[in-house]
Subunit: 158 residues, 2 copies
DNA sequence: GCAAAATAGTGCATTTTGCTCAATTTCGCG
DNA sequence: CGCGAAATTGAGCAAAATGCACTATTTTGC
């Protein structure tokens, strides 16, 4: 997966400003022809530059105002099965395998403290889980952003 | 911010399947009139159900294949200033204030291990930082998803 | 059961899309 | 420097989608 060039980045920046911009409007804004923009967009699509739309949905709107991160210590050989178990819990919205102190970091959304308690129990009940450490997110200090990296320009093209 | 009803959820589900679906196609798919879908979409927009488009951009495509989570212990009263400092580091893509062991959880993308080392140093150099714990994400076991929660339906309407 | 809100249906001008084709420019590389 | 491939441009055109408005009809909350 090769890196993107400056034009791609400018496209992405404009999209970040307004995701509903039309191809025509983008072409005009960037001083490119419509064909070029359309080709670029298709290329971005097929290169999997765009992640799932679900990422743009606000969990708060869905009725899950609470966010928590749960670190999990796992019995190593059971990691595969555990991933499947975690995938069965709807409130688990994201999970990573980690180096360092903990083995797994799980992102969880929930309706309230009681709900979090319940979900945490569910996780602890999964086969392979040795210990969990739950941290409630008190504030979104820096909401997800890629803008600074987009503006910095392409990384050493090649 | 009131919760969404079943129709909104079905809309979001369809959008998750294919974000580029037109209003017309959505209306047809859901058995609604175009007017209704258009009104719903506007309502979702103005209710801030949609988060920034940046969330859909793949950092790997941008040339940042590595992802890390850094826990930070902070001198409490310096949290505000620290947030500003962290915001100045482009590779910091997300940050949360936490309860529990650590005070801050920071999500960082980088080009390679050396890059991560450099960024970690930058964070440690910030005023207010007492200690950091870095974990490299070895695998995206469960990529971000909201689908299970969407399919579950609306949370106790009211 | 009433009033307000949501939905459906219709219409129309304008814009956007998807597609193709040929000419031109830019770029990689020997 | 110069060749050939790739990218970009401009044009055209039919089909589709959008934005807007207006009026019934249905659904909903109280």
């Amino acid at each position: 997966m090769q890196t993107l060039d400056g034009t791609d980045l400018r496209l992405l920046l404009e999209l970040a400003k307004d995701p509903r911009r039309t191809v025509v409007a983008l072409a005009q804004k960037l001083g490119l022809s419509r064909n070029t923009v359309q080709a670029r967009m298709s290329a971005l699509e097929s290169r999997n530059v765009f992640l799932s739309f679900e990422r743009r949905i606000n969990p708060v709107s869905l009725g899950y105002p609470l966010l928590a991160f749960i670190s999990i210590h796992v019995q190593q050989h059971k990691l595969g099965a555990l991933t499947d178990s975690l995938a069965q819990i709807p409130e688990v919205v994201e999970a990573f395998g980690l180096t360092g102190a903990a083995d797994l970091l799980v992102r969880v959304v929930c309706t309230d403290a009681e709900d979090l308690f319940r979900i945490n129990g569910k996780i602890q009940a999964c086969d392979g889980v040795e210990r969990t450490d739950t941290s409630l997110a008190m504030g979104e200090l820096i909401p997800f952003r890629l803008n600074p990296l987009l503006q910095r320009g392409p990384r050493h093209t090649g």
